[in-house]
């Protein structure tokens, strides 16, 4: 079983988590000013990244909080996990998974 590092609880089994779709999608400040195409873009259009993808996960059967993950969609390797509102690059090296995805 994969271990995913929750920023609040530490490494936990993957079955405790739920996938939450692509991360960092901001809701338009003034939806009424958007035309149908732009609104549809916000609602439905997502990247289909081959490589490093930023996505939301929720530790539903743990602390129940949403957080962000950078994952390589080719190898399934998780590069870093970080709290909502945090910058992924600010996560210190010691708190990142080791090469190959093992959680420290």
């Amino acid at each position: 079983m994969l271990l995913i590092k929750c920023p609040f609880c530490g490494p936990r089994p993957e079955i405790e988590f739920a996938y939450g779709g692509q991360a960092h999608i901001e809701r338009p400040k003034d939806p009424m000013s958007l035309d149908d195409e732009a609104w549809a873009e916000y609602l439905y259009i997502r990247n289909n990244t081959r490589g490093v993808h930023s996505e939301r996960w929720r530790h539903i059967n743990g602390c129940a909080r949403f957080f962000n993950v950078r994952r390589d969609t080719i190898s399934d390797e998780i590069l870093v996990t970080y709290k909502v509102g945090e910058a992924p690059d600010a996560v210190p090296e010691k708190d990142r998974p080791t090469k190959g995805g093992a959680v420290r």
Binding site: M1, P13, I15, E16, N61, G62, C63
Partner: protein
């Protein structure tokens, strides 16, 4: 307003009756408790702690105890408050009065779940048949609590002593979780109570 007295029936009352006695992993139903979920901004935390009479642990997945009351920190701004054998109405009233001017949420969940205990030298082993966590003392010490899974059911698991765990489980899943653990522990020799 009229008040109808409704007797609360523990969801484990039936299934827990007359099972085998297994010293390595005994199962026992714990008394009903008043339970609340409290979430709020940091300024409301000490107010809730003061009104409930138990310190709210700041570390996620830790609980604190005072007498028959417990505060489980199950998320960064979320606590389960538990008072064994007490009336939820009184506690709710006191807490909500103290917290009236604060931005927070308090929900009475006394009737959502029931709690049972597994104790004995093989309780860790028995739980591991359904729970994916590392339950060694190093990773799951006394004083730790967390939401997790046992089989397919969400639970709040806590370790009160080295060989004793408590399982808080939603009423509709409680007989499933009890039955799962009961089946596992039957590999150990038992003295049947009914024979």
């Amino acid at each position: 307003m009229g008040r109808t007295a409704v007797a609360r029936v523990n969801s484990l009352a039936q299934i827990s009756r007359g099972g085998p006695e297994v010293a390595e992993a005994s199962l026992s139903v714990l008394p009903d408790a008043a339970k609340f979920v409290f979430r709020g901004r940091p300024s409301s935390w000490p107010v809730a702690a003061e009104a409930f009479g138990v310190e709210l642990p700041q570390a996620v997945n830790r609980f604190s105890v005072k007498g028959g009351r417990k505060a489980y920190c199950v998320g960064p701004d979320e606590w389960l408050l538990e008072a064994v054998g007490e009336d939820p109405g009184e506690i709710f009233h006191k807490l909500s009065e103290s917290l009236a001017s604060h931005s927070c949420s308090l929900v009475d969940v006394s009737h959502r779940s029931d709690t049972f205990e597994i104790g004995g030298t093989r309780s860790e082993y028995v739980l591991s048949h359904g729970c994916p966590l590392d339950l060694s003392e190093q990773q799951f010490p006394v004083g730790m609590c967390t939401r997790t899974l046992i089989g397919k059911s969400p639970v709040i698991l806590s370790r009160t002593e080295r060989a004793v765990f408590q399982i808080d489980v939603w009423r509709s899943f409680s007989s499933y979780v009890w039955g799962l653990l009961d089946e596992v522990r039957r590999e150990f020799p038992s003295r049947s109570r009914q024979m």
